[in-house]
């Protein structure tokens, strides 16, 4: 029966939906539903009656956009957003600049066996931090920043110089940015390097016959040709930056200089779990999600109009 032409036709028609079922079910349960719930929560508030005691004293009521007005005018959230903006302005150019530099260096002509081996070792080492969890890398660098443990402070002290306080002021941004750069450069390097490897050899051949130097080839040929990868890595870094949470959270026990609402996500986490105000937290989360999506779509649109090689 199932082997009949009609059955064969109905098989492929239904089959893709069955194959997609587990993914779709998970999507609904753990993505769509939570987002819907967050939206719902963000539009409600808890009303406390009388002294706020007893079971009927706390009641959830409709709040309209009050939580959003509160979130958008909240100086703490705004300060967190500004801090993350400053942090992103350090992290993204430094990380992608280094990733591009290392990728170009990996792709440059080799001198021989020893060179190849050394570069293989370097590629592996630079990629290695990808395997280290954000919490652990923040923890390792945190100790390296700690004056009583740090080798840098030790060396500076020996030289008779005062060690810098990496946990305060502008240095804190650099200290946090360094952790992100350390963790993310290798992955981006591999993405860019793979794109470089995909450039056909004839392109270089032609450029060399025209008398281009290595430097010119890198600047005028390689960088423009990996622009799509650069856009993509920029885009992923931007999203990751907006969501920075575990690194500053991990540094907190080591110093008093990182407030518990340093980044917007930390503030939302604090609202939800330390203050128990789920409604404000939900509104803040929705705002961050909206900003992320807005940036992403705007950016993807800009990237698509620039690169014509989108095959989708």
């Amino acid at each position: 029966m199932t082997r009949s032409p009609a059955g064969a036709a109905s098989g492929p028609r239904r089959a893709p939906y069955l194959f997609l079922l587990p993914g779709a079910a998970l999507f609904v349960l753990f993505l769509a539903l939570p987002i819907g719930y967050a939206l719902y929560l963000s539009l409600r508030r808890t009303e406390v009656k009388g002294l706020g005691l007893g079971s009927g004293a706390r009641q959830e009521v409709w709040a309209g956009l009050a939580n959003y007005t509160a979130a958008l005018t909240d100086p703490e959230l705004l300060n967190g957003a500004l801090r993350v903006l400053g942090y992103g302005l350090v992290v993204i150019p430094a990380m992608l600049g280094l990733a591009l530099l290392f990728a170009l260096m990996l792709d440059a002509d080799r001198r021989g066996r020893r060179d190849t081996a050394l570069r293989g070792f370097a590629r592996l080492s630079i990629f290695l931090p990808y395997a280290v969890p954000g919490v652990v890398s923040a923890l390792l660098w945190g100790f390296l920043y700690l004056p009583s443990v740090s080798p840098f402070h030790y060396a500076l002290e020996r030289a008779g110089l005062p060690g810098p306080d990496l946990f305060s002021g502008g240095a804190l941004y650099a200290a946090l940015a360094n952790i992100a750069v350390w963790g993310g450069t290798g992955f981006n390097m591999i993405v860019i390097y793979t794109a470089l490897r995909a450039i056909p050899a004839e392109v270089y051949e032609a450029a060399r016959l025209d008398g281009c130097s290595q430097w010119q080839i890198a600047l005028r040929l390689k960088i423009p040709m990996v622009t799509p990868s650069l856009i993509l890595t920029f885009f992923f870094s931007l999203i990751a930056t907006l969501q920075v949470f575990s690194e500053p959270t991990t540094l907190r026990p080591l110093t008093n200089a990182v407030p518990s609402d340093w980044s917007p996500l930390m503030k939302i986490h604090q609202d939800a779990f330390a203050r128990g105000d789920l409604h404000t937290a939900a509104a803040g989360a929705v705002v961050i999600a909206a900003v992320t999506l807005l940036l992403s779509f705007g950016f993807l649109r800009a990237a698509n109009s620039r690169s014509h090689q989108d095959s989708r």
């Binding site: 194959f19 260096m105 390296l144």
Partner: protein, 294 residues
């Protein structure tokens, strides 16, 4: 005469130029980068050998004498809760990544090799999921799972980790590249069922790509902090990231615990680095770029 000289120079320059090495600069720059990336790892290897008093008193890169003692102390800490955290991490990353790969393979195969109504819409909605910040998810996920009575359980960390829009994206690209649609079509004409086509024709061809999906997912889950941090209250169920964080928090008031944190951090990265060294030999870099360039 000068014309011949130029001609000779041009003739010798062209073939030499083709093979002219870039000098030592690229390798030197790369080695500097490697040194930067290895510095904290080297430090933790040395620091883990120091006893509590040595940590604060001797030069940081001078090895101490307390490694065995540190490991023993860490293992004894609260009846070996550290090893429990490591086992939990292995469980979350192993089982979670396996399930995630299975779901990604099914979805990616359907999206790549079937034509059906709503295909592009489903794909685009899934991809939009990549952009969703985990926080907007993690808190409501927690609330929903709490309502279902499932918060603070292994399931509460495992289930949300299974769906990976990025994994589905990779699986789709890999299925499209590795499974020729002619073969699937031929099998269909021969009367093979859709499930059988997937199991015995497509899956073996997709396997190398799925290994990458699995590795991506296991690293992502092992490294995850926020989800288990929010979901779990009982430290018996913590993965090692959350466990180390709580240990560090206690260390702030009792610096003697710092040696445990450092030793714990070292031991926690060893399995990942070992895995990393093994897999990078098999790691198909082309897949990564395929994922990136499409």
């Amino acid at each position: 005469m000068s014309a011949t000289a130029t001609a000779v120079r041009a003739a010798t320059a062209a073939p030499r130029g083709r093979r002219r090495p870039a000098g030592r600069i690229p390798t030197a720059v790369l080695l500097l980068g490697a040194a930067y990336c290895l510095l904290p790892v080297a430090w933790v290897v040395v620091a883990a050998t120091k006893s509590g008093s040595e940590l604060f008193s001797t030069f940081t890169f001078l090895p101490g004498s307390g490694l065995a003692e540190n490991v023993a102390e860490l293992s004894a800490y609260r009846d070996g809760v550290y090893w429990r955290w490591m086992a939990n991490s292995a469980l979350y990353a192993g089982v979670g990544a396996l399930l995630s790969t299975a779901v990604s393979a099914l979805s990616g195969y359907a999206l790549a090799l079937h034509r059906f109504r709503g295909r592009e819409v489903i794909f685009n909605v899934l991809i939009a999921g990549v952009l969703m910040p985990p926080v907007i998810l993690a808190i409501p996920q927690y609330l929903l799972l709490a309502k279902a009575g499932m918060a603070d359980s292994y399931v509460s960390v495992l289930l949300p980790s299974i769906l990976s829009p990025y994994g589905i994206y990779l699986a789709r690209i890999y299925a499209a590249a590795a499974v020729p649609s002619d073969i699937v079509e031929a099998g269909r004409i021969d009367g093979a069922g859709e499930w059988r086509l997937f199991r015995s024709v497509a899956l073996p061809m997709m396997l190398p790509g799925l290994v990458t999906v699995f590795l991506f997912q296991s690293v992502a889950i092992w490294n995850n902090f926020m989800l288990p941090y929010i979901m779990l209250g009982d430290d018996e169920k913590f993965p090692v990231t959350v466990g180390l964080f709580t240990l560090l928090q206690q260390g702030a008031s009792a610096p003697a615990l710092y040696t445990l944190v450092i030793t714990g951090a070292l031991l926690s990265v060893i399995p990942l680095i070992a895995l990393f060294l093994v897999i990078q030999r098999f790691w198909s870099l082309d897949l990564l770029s395929g994922a990136v360039k499409s």
